[in-house]
Amino acid sequence: MSNEDIYLCIIGLCIVSYIPRVAPFLLLGKRQMPHAFELWLKYVPTSVFGALIFCSIFQTDSGVDFSFSNISMLAAIPVLAVAAKTHSLPYSIIVGLAAYWGLQQVM
């Protein structure tokens, strides 16, 4: 991607990132969102992350890989355990990097 395209992309990202951040401030107090819409929104983040995580850990260059030689999949196990217990982003990252590095050494 050219430098010009990168800045164009950044402007686009800025706009679409800002909309969900600012919209409630502008809309709320004046108008109530339809309940069905709010309910749908509750399920969006978990779906995005589920999809992103599965694609990140099971998808390899040669297709979907559920085998025990898949380091990304194996390293996700301790991360999932720590994340479920602590809900901490820094801990998840540290455990993930340590687990991935450790598996790289032994496999």
């Binding site: 991607m1 430098n3 395209d5 990168i6 800045y7 164009l8 992309c9 950044i10 686009g12 990202l13 679409v16 990132s17 909309i19 969900p20 951040r21 600012v22 919209a23 409630p24 401030f25 709320l28 107090g29 309910l39 749908w40 929104l41 509750k42 399920y43 969006v44 983040p45 978990t46 779906s47 995005v48 992350f49 589920g50 999809a51 992103l52 995580i53 599965f54 694609c55 990140s56 850990i57 099971f58 990304s72 390293a75 991360v79 999932l80 994340a83 479920a84 809900h87 901490s88 982003l89 820094p90 801990y91 998840s92 990252i93 455990v95 993930g96 990097l97 991935y100 590095w101 790289q104």
Partner: protein, 227 residues
């Protein structure tokens, strides 16, 4: 500046600290995909979204066109709508300009700190202290990403290992939704659907479609989320 007090620092330092490795990793990824330190600095100022920036950079690196990148990051950052909705009730009386500036500082971590402090009855937490805390976290993120991008061009960094910080972060962010079984099931369902769609939809469009299909179905079938 006058709002940088002990209470603010005590609340926000873990976030600032956590952003250092994360920002370094993000900066290194930026360097790998051909985004220079100035551009990543601008991106960190204007976009300020940890996972969003990682994904955008990965997509840039994969040679993805701009529209799917922008749409994906829109979906990824949709969750900020919840934080803004909650935080609005605490800063309702503030000016539109203040709200417009405050909105830009909404990310998972700053919102978590601010919502917790606003909720606590025994802690006096002003809107100014809230935005100051967020600014400190944002500053840490900007500096760390630029530093990572600069260091990435001189140091030899293991891309596979560094990229795993992103996956670990996704798992950490996903775990924020583990308070309800229905949310966990929806995430797993979206994960499997995304894998099934992968051969037909490239450039993360499988993630977008899986998200839309599963979240709509989950809201219809799963319905309300009782505590």
């Amino acid at each position: 500046m006058k709002y940088i007090n002990a209470k603010v620092l005590k609340s926000i330092w873990p976030v600032c600290f956590g952003y250092i490795p994360l920002g370094l990793a993000c900066g290194v990824l930026a360097e790998k995909v051909g985004v220079d330190p100035i551009a990543i600095g601008v991106m960190s100022i204007l976009v300020f979204a940890g996972s969003g920036q990682f994904i955008a950079l990965a997509m840039i690196g994969a040679g993805c066109p701009i529209p799917p990148i922008v749409f994906t990051i829109f979906i990824v950052n949709l969750r900020h709508i919840f934080y803004a909705t909650i935080l609005n009730s605490y800063i309702k009386e503030k000016s539109t300009i203040f709200k417009a500036l405050f909105a830009q500082e909404i990310v998972d971590e700053t919102s978590a700190v601010n919502m917790t402090n606003f909720e606590q009855k025994d802690v006096e937490w002003s809107a100014e202290e809230a935005i100051t805390s967020a600014y400190l976290a944002h500053l840490s993120w900007i500096i760390a990403t630029i530093a990572g991008c600069v260091l990435g061009s001189v140091a030899n960094i293991d891309t596979a290992l560094v990229s795993y910080a992103l996956i670990a972060m996704f798992i950490g962010l996903w775990s924020f939704h583990f308070w309800h079984k229905k949310l966990i099931l929806a995430g797993i369902a979206a994960g499997f659907l995304a894998l099934l769609l992968a051969p037909f939809l490239s450039n993360m469009l499988n993630v977008v479609v899986a998200t839309l299909v599963v979240s709509v179905l989950a809201a219809m079938i799963g319905g309300e989320l009782d505590e």
